[in-house]
């Protein structure tokens, strides 16, 4: 079980790092997907090794896939909107409001 959890933890950390360091908004979206998929690996692993019967983990993973897709749709729509107004999608633009 531990190798799978380690894989999930590494993926989650890569996603976390990506969200915090990427300048490009699409890059941030991709990193977020990575984090969600790390969670999926965790759920499926736990379901295989911990739960004796039942498919709760797998079902939750499918729900997460669906929700990640829905979030990506809204996220990309907002990114598109920003591209129209700013002619660019780098996070450097987002400084209209400060302290």
């Amino acid at each position: 079980m531990i190798p799978y959890l380690a894989l999930a933890a590494i993926l989650f950390s890569i996603g976390l790092f990506g969200v915090m360091t990427r300048r490009n908004t699409i890059g941030i979206l991709m990193s977020l997907e990575l984090m969600f998929n790390a969670v999926n690996i965790n759920f499926v692993t736990f379901n295989k090794y911990v739960v004796s019967d039942g498919l709760v983990g797998q079902i939750f993973a499918i729900f997460i896939v669906v929700i990640a897709a829905a979030e990506a749709v809204v996220g990309l729509a907002i990114v598109l909107l920003i591209y129209r107004n700013w002619k660019g999608i780098d996070t450097d633009h987002f400084t209209v409001m400060k302290w």
Partner: protein, 482 residues
């Protein structure tokens, strides 16, 4: 095999939710036809009223359905009423503002209704899968709402910031749920509570990691320090009625789930009390101190909402039934006077060229004395002066803390309230005493917003003088699980 013969009976548990959802889809359908687009507002308002009536009808009953996935207990049905009322008030506030700012689109009402549906789902379950689904149903429309003013750069920025932060928080929350699932082999809080000591003994590490990650995830959602950085930007950038909705609805929903998770599900973890002690102190202090520096009213109210979240976090540190009903009471009270304050800000912003800076308040007492008096009432409630509901809410919270022996926590809370006096009263100082060269623009009322002001003002003052009814409501809304 699962027996599906009794599924039809389950639907009477979720009548208010169904009404909201049908209304939302009706609004979306009507919105596509130009000729009917004008009807959308009334349809949305009507369905919300029907949902409110159904929710009030349901209050006090204990129901469960959908194989234990939906648990409509007193706590959940109380929050149903709160969420729907907040949605109605938001729609009333928004109507005129959206037209003036030229962003009036039927989707707004559909999104508010769907988001409210999500809040109800997340408050009415003990299963973490359903909780998460409800959270996402609530959040995804909110990302759109934050960026609703498509041509405004500020609104775009609010949308993308809220989206990234929200999705980021969801990932943490999910990781937390995954670890709790790994430790307990179930996602149902009732089963976790039943086997709690066994779970901690056998896989305590996973459980602790999971609880910590869940706390981080919800910390983002309710704007808890140190996860509060997105709050001011999103509150300032989003269209003002949307900000009003943010500060009342999703916040109350976040607290509803947090209360259920940490005062019922993970109550057995003794260390949580001291963690919440630190978080409450950090949150209210940071919120109040940073609010002192603001020049924009919306931004000031954003920091003040962080501070108020800090006051509610006191209840988590204290624990127990009294603290729970104090937290519910304070959530309701905060929703009432905060929505009122935002209604005033919306009204001021519908004047041409106003961006809700403090300087725009100057001369308001001459131009519109009644509005200024109402604003004063809400400001007193935010500060916590008697005889408003804000005073009673704080009094109830702090007195439960003192009774349970958390004297320092109550002292820090009271000191924080003193700090907050400075920036809240600055609103009144500017509007009553600052000299102006040219008279302030007068505001034009609409029936909808006048109604909101009357209701919230009556609630702030009425429940402040006679808190008994609301107190009974909050006390009857503690968990009673099936």
């Amino acid at each position: 095999m699962i027996d599906f013969s009794s599924v039809a009976d389950n639907f009477n548990v979720i009548y208010p939710e169904l009404a909201l959802l049908i209304g939302a889809f009706a609004v979306l359908l009507l919105g596509t036809v130009k000729r009917f687009a004008g009807l959308c507002t009334s349809v949305a308002g009507l369905t919300a009223l029907i949902a409110l009536w159904l929710a009030v009808d349901q209050f006090g009953t204990q129901q469960s359905g959908f194989f234990g996935m939906v648990t409509c207990d007193a706590f959940g049905s109380a929050f149903k009423i709160i969420f729907i009322a907040i949605a109605i008030v938001t729609m009333l506030i928004a109507h005129r503002f959206m037209i003036v700012k030229q962003i009036a689109r039927p989707e707004f009402y559909a999104l508010v209704l769907i988001s409210t549906f999500g809040m109800i789902v997340m408050a009415n379950t003990t299963d973490m899968i359903v909780m998460f689904l409800g959270l996402e149903i609530m959040s995804v429309p909110l990302y759109v709402l934050a960026g609703f003013a498509r041509r405004s750069l500020q609104s775009n920025e609010a949308g993308i910031k809220y989206f990234v932060m929200g999705a980021f928080a969801s990932a943490f929350l999910l990781m937390g749920i995954a670890f709790v699932f790994g430790a307990s082999a179930t996602t149902d809080l009732r089963r976790i509570v039943a086997d709690f000591s066994y779970i901690i003994y056998h896989s305590g590490l996973y459980m602790y990691v999971g609880i910590a990650l869940i706390l981080v995830g919800f910390g983002f959602k309710i704007g808890m320090v140190p996860f509060h950085a997105w709050v001011p930007d999103v509150y300032q950038g989003a269209p003002t009625p949307v900000t009003a909705f943010f500060s009342a609805g999703p916040k109350a929903a976040g607290f509803a789930v947090l209360l259920r998770l940490f005062m019922f599900g993970f109550e057995g973890v003794a260390e949580l009390s001291s963690i919440f002690w630190v978080l409450a102190v950090l949150t209210m202090t940071a919120g109040n101190v940073l609010a002192l520096l603001q020049d924009n009213i919306k931004r000031m109210l954003a920091y003040s909402s962080i501070a108020h979240a800090g006051y509610i976090l006191i209840a988590f540190a204290v624990g127990g039934e009294d603290a729970l009903s104090a937290a519910i009471f304070y959530s309701i009270a905060y929703a009432i006077f905060n929505l009122g304050a935002f209604a005033v800000v919306v009204l001021l912003e519908t004047r041409s060229g106003c961006r809700s800076d403090f300087s725009e308040l100057a001369g308001l007492s001459k131009a519109s004395p009644y509005l200024c008096a109402v604003l004063a009432l809400f400001v007193f409630a935010l500060t916590g002066f008697p005889p408003t509901i804000g005073f009673f809410g704080k009094f109830y919270l702090f007195s439960t803390a003192v009774k349970a022996g958390f004297i320092w926590l109550a002292v820090i809370g009271v000191l924080n309230s003193f700090v907050s006096v400075y920036y809240y009263l600055r609103v009144l100082k500017v509007s009553y005493f600052d000299r102006v060269e040219q008279p302030a623009l007068s505001v034009s009322y609409t029936p909808a917003i006048t109604l909101v002001l009357l209701i919230t003002a009556a609630g702030t003052l009425g429940f402040g003088l006679f808190p008994q009814k609301l107190l009974e409501f909050a006390q009857s809304a503690v968990f009673a699980f099936l």
